[in-house]
């Protein structure tokens, strides 16, 4: 079998961060090749280079044996490379058909365009209503639109970036089966994922990336999953375990009765019915597939969204750690001291009447930097200069500075390396030990299982309380959602 895509010696750095170090990657014709690695290993960067979104510092790209210059997505498409992105990359206000037509360069007259889109849907087994605006599609169909866009460009080399991240286990399963069928149509695919079981189930070969370097490449069946996991993390075999906590039943800090919240923005989903409570000293994990209402639940708890029905009592003060730290938790161009002042608002110890004592802010910031091991030159550093892990440490420090009764966290370890993740987990547990009621959501089921005392599942807007000792499989099963076909 001849290699259909080769990346040789790819090196890339972003500022001081070395994202890729001489990485090699070979995709054989007709194979499904999994690119494994934990968050931040460089997988998306490597494929971003293959698709022309990023320019490498050094290295070579060969398509079907010929060296190529890929300066942008257009070049990549012309070479038959298509990419299905992790994030939603369609134009929200345009219809599904227009989005597909735009990407594929099809003619725009509606009759012809709609027909072509319908044909494409039939051929690939992924039907979609051409006339619906992209922003009005449910999460599953949005993902489908992404795949269709890549297929419409006659791509023979498909790069799939964490395609199942927004899908429930059943939907992901269905998608992977679909991808397998592509093989029979002469396509080759790269499956970027951090989920071991996906890789071993579907792929012919795997390549493991760690800290920007290729540490392993070979047939998927050749190595046991534990070994692959170890290669990904760089530590001896590790599997998620339920943490053992002492049952500390403190006072009730959160009480929800028949709570309902309207959906917040595109991509959200309404919360229809939530009845549960959370106590001081507990860590409650919220497991859900994106787009089932968990965001609405968390933000209602944080006081950012108003319930449309039902009762909600949350002891104040409440601290909120949002998912998107660079735009929702921090102001990038502000210094760390300024960000701390922002987060404490009126309640800051340095506020006297209308006046703000910046000297006191800086001193406290300095103290917090030490307490929370935030690696930064000083309180006057702009937040944007910090790495993700250090930013998150700062965000958590600010959140805990408020001495909250309740702490709500959305994906608190998203995009962080293992060390930072472990630290954040430790801090959350420590906060709980100090009496805070901690509620958090993670899209990584393993993390939920490992960190939480109790697990709540949000499915289609309803909160389901799971019994103590529920296994990972049981929790995953509860998260399933049925998908209705489009059109």
């Amino acid at each position: 079998m001849a290699p259909v895509l080769e990346l040789r010696g790819i090196t890339k750095h972003f500022g001081p961060v070395q994202a890729l170090r001489g990485a090699d990657f070979i995709l054989e014709e007709g194979e499904i090749h999994a690119l494994l690695g934990e968050n931040g290993a460089g997988k998306s960067t490597l494929m971003g280079i293959a698709f022309g979104l990023i320019r490498p510092d050094a290295g070579q790209i060969l398509v079907r044996g010929n060296p190529q210059q890929i300066r942008g997505p257009l070049d990549a498409r012309q070479l038959g490379i298509g990419m299905v992105h992790q994030h939603f990359t369609s134009v929200p206000a345009l219809t599904a058909a227009e989005n597909i037509g735009l990407t594929a360069g099809w003619s725009v007259s509606p009759g012809k365009l709609y027909r072509r889109v319908r044909d494409l849907g039939e051929q690939t087994g992924l039907p979609i209503d051409p006339a619906v605006r992209a922003e009005d599609l449910p999460a599953v169909l949005k993902q489908r639109l992404e795949v269709l866009k890549a297929l419409a460009t006659d791509a023979r080399i498909l790069l799939l970036d964490e395609p199942s991240s927004v899908l429930s286990p059943a939907e992901a399963e269905s998608l992977l089966t679909r991808i397998q069928s592509f093989r029979t149509r002469g396509m080759s695919a790269v499956l970027i994922t951090h989920k071991l079981d996906e890789a071993t189930r579907v792929a012919d070969r795997v390549t493991v990336l760690r800290r920007g370097e290729v540490v392993h490449t070979g047939p998927a069946s050749a190595e046991p999953p534990a070994r692959l996991a170890a290669l990904m993390i760089g530590a001896p075999g590790w599997a998620p375990q339920r943490a053992s906590h002492s049952a500390s039943a403190g006072e009730v800090r959160v009480r929800a009765q028949g709570l309902a919240v309207e959906r917040s923005g595109p991509g959200g989903a309404p919360l229809r019915e939530a009845t549960f409570s959370a106590r001081s000293g507990e860590v409650v994990g919220i497991a859900a597939v994106e787009g089932n209402g968990q965001r609405e639940l968390l933000r209602a708890l944080a006081g950012l969204l108003r319930p449309s029905r039902g009762e909600l009592d949350v002891s104040t003060p409440v601290s909120f750690v949002p998912e998107d730290r660079t735009s929702e938790a921090l102001i990038g161009e502000f210094t760390l001291a300024e960000n701390l002042a922002l987060s404490q608002g009126q309640g800051g110890a340095w506020v006297r009447g209308p006046w703000l004592d910046w000297g006191a802010v800086e001193r406290r910031t300095e103290e917090l930097l030490g307490e929370f091991s935030v690696r930064a030159p000083g309180p006057g550093t702009p937040a944007i200069a910090l790495s993700g892990g250090n930013q998150q440490r700062m965000v958590l420090a600010a959140a805990l500075e408020r001495q909250p009764a309740v702490l709500v966290a959305e994906n608190p370890t998203r995009g962080l390396d293992i060390k930072a993740t472990a630290e954040i987990h430790a801090r959350l547990r420590e906060a709980a030990k100090q009496g805070v009621a901690v509620l958090f959501h993670s899209s990584d089921l393993d993390e939920v299982v490992e960190l939480a005392d109790r697990v709540l599942v949000v499915r289609e807007g309803r909160v389901i309380e799971l019994p103590e000792g529920a296994t990972r499989q049981e929790i995953g099963a509860r998260m399933l959602v049925e998908v209705s076909g489009a059109s």
Partner: protein, 302 residues
């Protein structure tokens, strides 16, 4: 009101609306791409002067060509500053207009001597369209106009087709809705925006020329008097769709014509009321009083 007065008012309305329509069509292109071009006022004014000078040299068509080129160049400058370099659109647009006011004023004085001397220029004649011009009431109003007005009529469906039935138009609209998504789809956002700005600038320049060569008949300093900014309002009122923009332009033109009318009539009603009317209506539309419109999502974002 007797028929003759009505016809003459309608004719005047269409004539006055022509520069507004042309400028607004140009601004529609720019804003569909996600860029607010406040330099359109400057492009129009510069186009007016270029039209005047060009006409004295080579007749009205030469003037129109010169105006189109001038408007295009000014908008290209704006595009380079606000799109290519990424500077704040509002400020750079205002700066372009400011600079155009200064430059045209100075050039006018240099070329034509001190202010106050009325120019006489070769202008565009009124061309009645046989047959159509005989339709009662609307006939003379719509079909006894200058060639530039007819150009406007053609431009409306042409622009609609460009925006909604071509790949280029789709790409432009994508750029105006989501830069991220458009880039992922392979659209060269900066490039397409600049092209749209240049095309729009051409329209603005011709709009200025039409003001000089088909309406007023001469050039005076600062003669556009905010018509370019008016075009921005017209685009909003027209919901960024060429057909509705034409309607909005006509409405503004009618209001302006009414104002001229009332200025010459002694009446209890202050004519300034008609000056205010189009803007107040636009505000109402914006508030959703008369049908909600969505602006291109990238408009106003940096």
């Amino acid at each position: 009101m007797d028929a003759d007065l009505l016809v003459s008012f309608l004719t005047s309305a269409v004539r006055v609306a022509t520069p507004l329509l042309l400028a607004a069509l140009g601004e529609t292109l720019a804003e569909r791409g996600g860029v607010i071009n406040l330099g359109i006022e400057g492009a129009m004014l510069a186009g007016a002067l270029a039209g005047a000078i060009g006409s004295t040299v080579g007749g009205p068509w030469a003037g129109t060509l010169a105006a189109a080129l001038t408007g295009a160049m000014l908008s290209l400058g704006f595009g380079l500053i606000a799109v290519a370099a990424g500077a704040n659109q509002i400020i750079s647009g205002t700066a372009i207009t400011l600079g155009a006011v200064g430059a045209t004023g100075a050039i006018y004085r240099e070329v034509y001597g001190s202010a106050g001397v009325g120019l006489s220029l070769p202008t565009f004649p009124v061309i009645p369209i046989p047959g159509l011009a005989r339709i009662p009431l609307l006939g003379p109003a719509l079909f006894e106009q200058s060639i530039l007005t007819y150009l406007g009529y053609v431009a409306v469906p042409a622009l609609w087709f460009l925006l909604f039935r071509t790949r280029w138009g789709l790409a432009l609209r994508a750029a105006g809705e989501s830069v991220e998504a458009a880039t992922a789809a392979g659209v060269r956002v900066k490039r397409i925006r600049i092209v749209a700005l240049v095309l729009g600038g051409m329209f603005a320049g011709v709009a200025g020329a039409s003001l000089v060569l088909a309406q007023v008949g001469t050039f005076a300093e600062k003669m556009t008097a905010g018509r370019g900014f008016m075009a921005v309002a017209i685009v909003v009122l027209g919901g960024w769709r060429p057909g509705r923009v034409a309607g909005a332009a006509l409405f503004f033109g009618a209001a302006m014509a009414l104002q001229f009318l009332f200025q010459s009539i002694v009446s209890n009603l202050p004519y300034q009321l008609f000056l205010m009317l189009p803007y107040l209506l636009t505000l109402l539309v914006l508030a959703g009083g008369v049908g909600r419109v969505r602006s291109p999502a990238e408009l106003g974002r940096e």
